[in-house]
């Protein structure tokens, strides 16, 4: 789960990482007073996508009226398709230089990695890799002060700048561990004449650890209503814009199914990995989600492992009865309890395929042919 900048910064602040003085607004109430108290301010749209600065999502003001109108302007705008609902107004700080700092996990090394660069700021993604220092952290000893000294040495920082940056690194690592983060990022970490502070803040926490999140971790809804419903069922679901509703079990096979639809000239309405071990009830709920997006056809591709084919078959029969399906549906069913599943479908007059090639080409021919449910014909 991604946190908004203002949430990440609140967590940083609680954990001793300096951030600019700021306040959060969802309307103009209090904006004038805050600006007057603070002086020159930055007004920052709170959106989860990157590249906000370049998209015009950050404005500056030095007068109360100007601040109000810019808040209004931002709250009326969209950044990369997302409606701005909140702004963070912060004191403007004197920037001597902009650094970059992030901690995440390197999957191929199976280790935590700290990234640091003196080329912080908006274009960090364009910075050549050799200008980004990578330091792997052994989780059994954690990030120790000596490692931060070596990092600042490689960055070429000296004196106060180095010491304060080292402090921030140590605290950022604590945040990373304490909050089960997948990513914490400060870009830029700005050096002012007196301190270094987090001028921006990104934080992604690990949903799998949600049960042990500290109470100060807020909940952020990033999903569409349908995606959220799927999520509650433990299903990975992403809305796409094609024509065939797809349900499969396993991310890889789902992607491969989408690839096949594309290969044979169609496209998917969604990505749905119904996961392993889904029960009959969960499968039925997943099917209802699929239908709610009005696809032109359904393709169910089940390779039973933990998922049992008979569960899927029973669920499909139940949904079909309840909803009186009119669209073409093709089912491919192999693996655990395959014979049982096939038999349940056959009892209801529904045919299933063993071959994924046949299933995919069948659903496409049905689509092109006009949309009747052949299995029931």
């Amino acid at each position: 789960m991604k946190l908004y900048e203002y949430m990440a910064k609140e967590i940083f602040r609680r954990n001793g990482i300096p951030v600019p003085m700021g306040a959060v607004f969802t309307g103009v109430d209090g904006v004038a007073a805050f600006q007057e108290k603070t002086g020159s301010v930055a007004i920052k749209s709170q959106v989860l996508s990157g590249g906000r600065g370049k998209a015009g999502g950050i404005k500056f003001a030095t007068e109360p009226q100007d601040a109000i109108s810019k808040v209004q302007e931002l709250l009326a705008s969209k950044i990369k398709g997302c409606q701005v609902e909140t702004v963070l107004i912060e004191e403007k700080v004197t920037i001597e230089r902009e650094l970059y700092l992030a901690i995440t996990v390197d999957g191929s090394k199976r280790q935590i990695v700290l990234l640091a660069s003196v080329a912080g700021g908006m274009d960090i993604e364009q910075v050549p890799e050799e200008q980004v220092i990578k330091r792997f952290i052994d989780i059994t000893i954690g990030l120790q002060p000596y490692a931060t000294r070596e990092i600042t040495r490689q960055m070429g920082l000296k004196g106060r700048e180095a010491k304060q940056t080292e402090e921030v690194m140590l605290k950022l690592y604590q945040v990373f561990r304490k909050y089960d983060a997948e990513l914490v990022e400060i870009n830029p970490l700005v050096v002012t004449p007196s301190q270094v502070l987090a001028a921006d803040g990104k934080m992604t926490v690990d949903d799998e650890a949600a049960y042990r999140f500290l109470p100060e971790v807020p909940y952020v809804e990033e999903k569409t209503a349908v995606e959220k419903k799927a999520d509650d069922l433990g299903i990975s679901y992403v809305e796409l814009d094609g024509e065939v509703g797809v349900m499969a079990n396993g991310a890889g096979i789902t992607m491969a199914t989408l690839d096949l639809l594309q290969h044979f000239g169609s496209s998917a309405r969604n990505f749905m990995d119904a996961g392993g071990g889904s029960s009959e009830k969960a499968t039925a709920a997943a099917l209802e989600i699929l239908l709610s997006t009005n696809p032109k056809a359904l393709l169910i591709n089940i390779f039973g492992g933990i998922t049992r084919c008979d569960d899927v078959a029973r669920a499909f029969v139940q949904v079909k009865k309840a909803l009186d399906l009119k669209l073409p549906v093709v089912i491919r069913l192999v693996g655990t309890n395959e014979d049982l599943g096939t038999a349940i479908l056959r009892e209801q007059g529904i045919e299933s395929f063993k071959s994924v090639e046949e299933a995919v080409t069948k659903v496409i021919s049905l689509l092109k042919g006009g949309g009747t449910d052949v299995h029931n014909s």
Binding site: S236, L240, G252, I253, F271, G305, I306, T336
Partner: protein, 296 residues
């Protein structure tokens, strides 16, 4: 022959009294795996499918000779059970459970390194040497003993590929699911090394997907392999920037794309199949060429 598992491998099941643990213990026994014990705290003294249940791994290992363990416990308990197996001296550990918190996985991996143990998973269907032994949750009936090693990141997709292989009459020496999480124990390269060294394996199928750089790294290793490798990759049609489930399918900074993976593998001499049912024929072709190379 095969890698990691064979007919003598003695296995314990952690979480044997749970629904999944019970069901798959039965399935593993039916496949011929030697399940010598199960662990379930507070349930010591019971039996599951005739297998004795112990309270702790240490107790199981006092009473049985054990080569490997498979974990079926809920995600919250995985770290504790994995560390238990590792401290007790288990050197091959398969973690089937999905949804393990990332930081827990990192701690498990660090301790496994210290204990010099190999971990498959988390979030894996396990590994199997057809005709000999399986550890995990894969369906029993799609495999066929043979001489092709299969290694995959994704679970069900590797069943699909194995199904295609078996359908084409191409049997498997061993099949390994690395697990679908961002951090997993064994990597493509570690499994490829074992296949390269295994006399019973004549060719290898690598099943990958977009996201991460595991396939690119594997390609580097494959350059030095003597055995032919065929690959199939999922995610060609995925729109950039959308996260497709747990698959690591986050396309970032031009790395981990379908294109970069195909290029890296092709450059390493790998035949990359376009469609799942092309894998079997490509493997047969590679094996035929391989025989020519060696014997012709």
């Amino acid at each position: 022959m095969s890698i990691i598992l064979n007919q003598t491998t003695r296995i314990i099941v952690q979480g044997i009294t749970g629904t999944q643990g019970q069901f798959h213990t039965g399935q593993m026994i039916a496949f011929g795996s030697k399940i010598v014990g199960g662990v379930s705290p507070g349930k010591g003294g019971q039996e599951v499918h005739g297998v004795p249940v112990y309270d702790t791994v240490e107790e199981a290992m006092l009473k049985q000779q054990v080569d490997a363990s498979v974990i079926f416990v809920p995600a919250k308990l995985v770290k504790d059970c994995a560390l238990e197996a590792l401290e007790a001296g288990i050197k091959t550990l398969v973690i089937v459970t999905e949804h393990v918190p990332l930081h827990d996985t990192l701690e498990i991996m660090a301790y496994a390194e210290k204990q010099k143990a190999e971990i498959v998973g988390p979030n894996t269907y396990g590994l199997i040497s057809p005709g000999q032994c399986k550890i995990g949750i894969m369906p029993n009936n799609i495999f066929m003993p043979g001489e092709v090693g299969v290694v995959a990141r994704s679970g069900t997709l590797s069943y699909e590929i194995v199904y295609q292989l078996t359908g084409a009459g191409v049997g498997q020496s061993s099949v390994v699911g690395l697990g679908g999480d961002r951090v997993v124990g064994m990597s493509f390269i570690q499994v490829l090394e074992k296949f390269e060294a295994d006399p019973a394996t004549k060719a290898v199928v690598l099943v990958g997907e977009i996201g991460g750089n595991a396939e690119e790294k594997a390609a580097d290793y494959i350059k030095g392999m003597t055995k032919p490798v065929v690959a199939f990759l999922a995610g060609k049609s995925a729109p950039p920037g959308k996260r497709m489930g747990h698959a690591g399918a986050i396309i970032e900074r031009g790395k981990g794309t379908f294109k970069s993976k195909v290029e890296a593998l092709t450059a390493a001499g790998v035949s990359v199949a376009n469609l799942p049912w092309e894998v079997g024929p490509l493997v047969k072709q590679a094996l035929a060429q391989g025989s020519e190379k060696v014997y012709g």
